[in-house]
Amino acid sequence: MPLSGYEKFVSKPSKQELEEFRAGASAWFAENVPSPPDFVMPLTFMEVGTDEQFQFLCEWQRKVYEAGYLGAAWPEEYGGRGLNQRFQEIATDEMRRHQSPIMLNTIGLNWAGPLILDMGTHEQRQRYIKGILSADDIWCQGFSEPDHGSDLGNAQTRAVRDGDDWVINGQKIWTTHGSYAKYMILLARSIPDAHNKYAGLSFYLAPMNVPGIETRPIRKLTGEYGFTETFFTDARIPGESLMGEEGQGWTVAMRTLEYERNARGGQAGGLAFVAPDRTEAIDLARRAQRNGKPAIEDPAIRDKLVELMIEHQSTVLCARRAVIPPLVAERPMSLPLAGKLMTTELDRRLNEFAISLQGQAGAYGIGSPEGLDRGLWQRAYLNSFSATIGGGTSQIQTNIVAEHVLGLPKH
């Protein structure tokens, strides 16, 4: 991955330093990872649907940050530790190993934060970065609109300059943490008569606690909550909310998506999601019964399971190959741009398969005591669409690879 500007000034750590750091992190997480609460633990930040889940995860993120295992590679002057990115990778790795709950403030940590560090002013960094890490300031994202899901460039929410302020009118959808967030990264149209749809957009770091912003929860296909619709009615936000120049909104938004798609470094790190992975799928295949025998003894199940494991290993290996220059010399952007497509589609099919291998028990619903693992896999499968649809649908991702990697025509 290309390094963000500020990282390259940080010295390369020695093996010993890294090992010591890992030992410290490992010990800390072993000691501090909380035991599972009696409510359902969200596996991604998009699954936070109740106040108790939200509070629990806020407190946990703050604790991890204060222990020094979040934002370790972000600059010290803004609240990070100024360490090499490797340290944060190790910390994240240890979180996963110790089955830590997720880091809640994903939009702040992985989208807004890197963007502000990359493009923001000194004042913006001072104002926002520390609160992102400590979870004092929860961030949400306002890109998608009801009529413009995949076609972000067509966003119609209006921003009008009025004195020193901007006045916002319109509607956003799929706002994660919409009811909890203090700030939103907002894409809105400030120049309606620009020469093309992209040139009319501007990008804002908008406060959510101003009059005229209302949120309404959306019930997901799982039956749970986790997103809101967000309505703007003459909502007045200060002039300095503008990120970059007026009319640069599309460029800034695309840059933000690059952080999200992991095509650009600079994220705060931290565990963003917990996916029931292949090891658990194998374990499940041992426990699940089909026709009175463990599913793992069924040759057809074994074949399919191995197929998915090969594909899982593909995604692991592709992520690693992406940073080996001689092995990506001819198409350096191919693996980064295809990454989301590969991983999210695999995850969806893995979860789907995990239900099917349960045979009759696949009939039970989410949370059902009769279901294997209380319907964990049923829930994971239905939730997995959030990743194949959100952040650019698989079909849009496919178009991106087609056009930007293979050079196929857009029209």
Binding site: I310, Q313, C318, P326, S334, T398
Partner: protein, 389 residues
């Protein structure tokens, strides 16, 4: 073997060989050349093969003591990949496999007498397959019987690549109930009367050998103690090089499809703008990218016990179907032209059919992988969430 860390990596030598092989194969094997060789009796360009010998390609994975470069099969992988990319065939892979098999099971005298010439570019081959079609190379019906100091052979070997040009070959036979490997020199190969087989991939030259009545000296027997391991290893080496070959072919197959999709118009639009063609082409590309990751991972971990074996089998299981898909869609997306012999898509499709048939197809690999990965404790607590294996 040199120390290699992690599941995937690229040595300096690999990177250098990849770069030079990319240029060499592109230069030496334009598509007109490939087409010209389809009808050729020998099936490859002797001068180009001699140049590969001069470049040291045949000696890459041969120890320096025998005149090679002392590298590993990992460094052969980029060569096989780039040859596959330009639809090259010929004795490079069979010679490499013969060398590896001799290294694994040959006696010191056999290695000393044969490997230096092989490392310099003298072709050899292996005769391991039989008409029964067992992917398990230890299931053999050809026989050897002791007759005083010599061995009398019988049975039929098939799918022996480039037999008539080989200076020697290694054949697998059953001797006193065990698998044995014997050397045949050029005269003995001739005596076995190689008969050309009609194979689906017309860039290959494949032969059937009748061993009946052949008599070889006892000194032609490879070390019986090392034989089974060497045979297992060469099956994996064959799988890896076949996967590398198909991986290269897949990259150019996708490029070939893309070039048609970006020039051919129907209903006033470039056909590549239709998502019905665009999206499967991306799928082919992504599957080939995944295959390439597996191939270089398998190269990197080759010879490393269960991890190495799993990596090779995954590479083979991923690559064959990926190339098959890429080529199958390429034929379809070329429309009427795709149905003609003139369209190159068929060359790729045929190559995939050949590659799948060699050293275990995807179904076979997955069955072995299931035994390797689902039975034991490989994914126990220690491996969870961390590195694979």
């Amino acid at each position: 073997m040199r120390e290699r860390h992690g599941p995937i990596g690229c040595s300096h030598e690999q990177a250098d060989l990849l770069e030079s092989a990319t240029r060499f194969c592109e230069d030496k094997s334009p598509i007109a050349k490939v087409r010209g060789l389809l009808e050729d009796e020998i099936g490859y360009d002797l001068d180009v093969f001699a140049e590969m010998g001069d470049l040291g390609w045949l000696g890459v994975a041969i120890p320096e003591a025998y005149g090679g470069a002392g590298l590993d099969l990992a460094e052969v992988v980029p060569l096989a990949e780039q040859m596959g990319r330009r639809l090259m065939s010929g004795p490079f892979v069979p010679t490499t496999l013969a060398g590896q098999l001799l290294l694994g099971a040959g006696t010191k005298a056999q290695k000393q007498s044969l490997l230096p010439a092989l490392a310099g570019g003298e072709p050899a081959t292996v005769a391991l397959a039989e008409p029964a079609g067992n992917f398990d190379l230890a299931q053999i019906s050809c026989r050897a019987e002791r007759h005083g100091e010599s061995l009398r052979l019988s049975g039929t070997k098939c799918l022996v690549l480039d037999a008539p040009v080989a200076n020697w070959l290694i054949a697998s036979v059953s001797l006193e109930g065990s698998v044995a490997l014997v050397l045949l020199d050029a005269d003995q190969i001739r005596q076995a009367g190689p008969v050309r087989e009609k194979v689906i991939d017309e860039t290959r030259r494949s032969f059937r050998l009748c061993l009946d009545g052949l008599e070889v000296p006892g000194s032609a027997l490879l070390d019986p103690v090392a034989t089974l391991d060497a045979l297992r290893e060469v099956e994996l080496a064959g799988g890896l090089l076949s996967a590398a070959d198909m991986c290269g072919a897949g990259a150019s197959c996708v490029a070939y499809t893309v070039s048609y999709l970006t020039t051919r118009k129907q209903f006033g639009r470039l056909i590549g703008s239709y998502q019905g063609l665009k999206h499967p082409t991306v799928e082919a590309h992504v599957r080939m990218e995944q295959a390439r990751s597996h191939v270089y991972a398998a190269a990197h971990t080759f010879g490393k016990g269960a991890q190495g074996e799993i990596a090779v089998r995954m590479a083979k299981a991923q690559t064959g179907p990926a190339l098959a898909f890429a080529a199958d869609r390429s034929i379809q997306f070329h429309g009427g032209f795709g149905f003609t012999y003139e369209c190159d898509a068929q060359l790729y499709r045929r190559r995939a059919l050949w590659g799948e048939s060699q050293y275990g197809d995807a179904v076979h690999q997955r069955r072995l992988l299931a035994d390797l990965m689902l039975s034991g404790n490989l994914f126990a607590e220690g491996a969870r969430g961390g590195h694979f294996l």
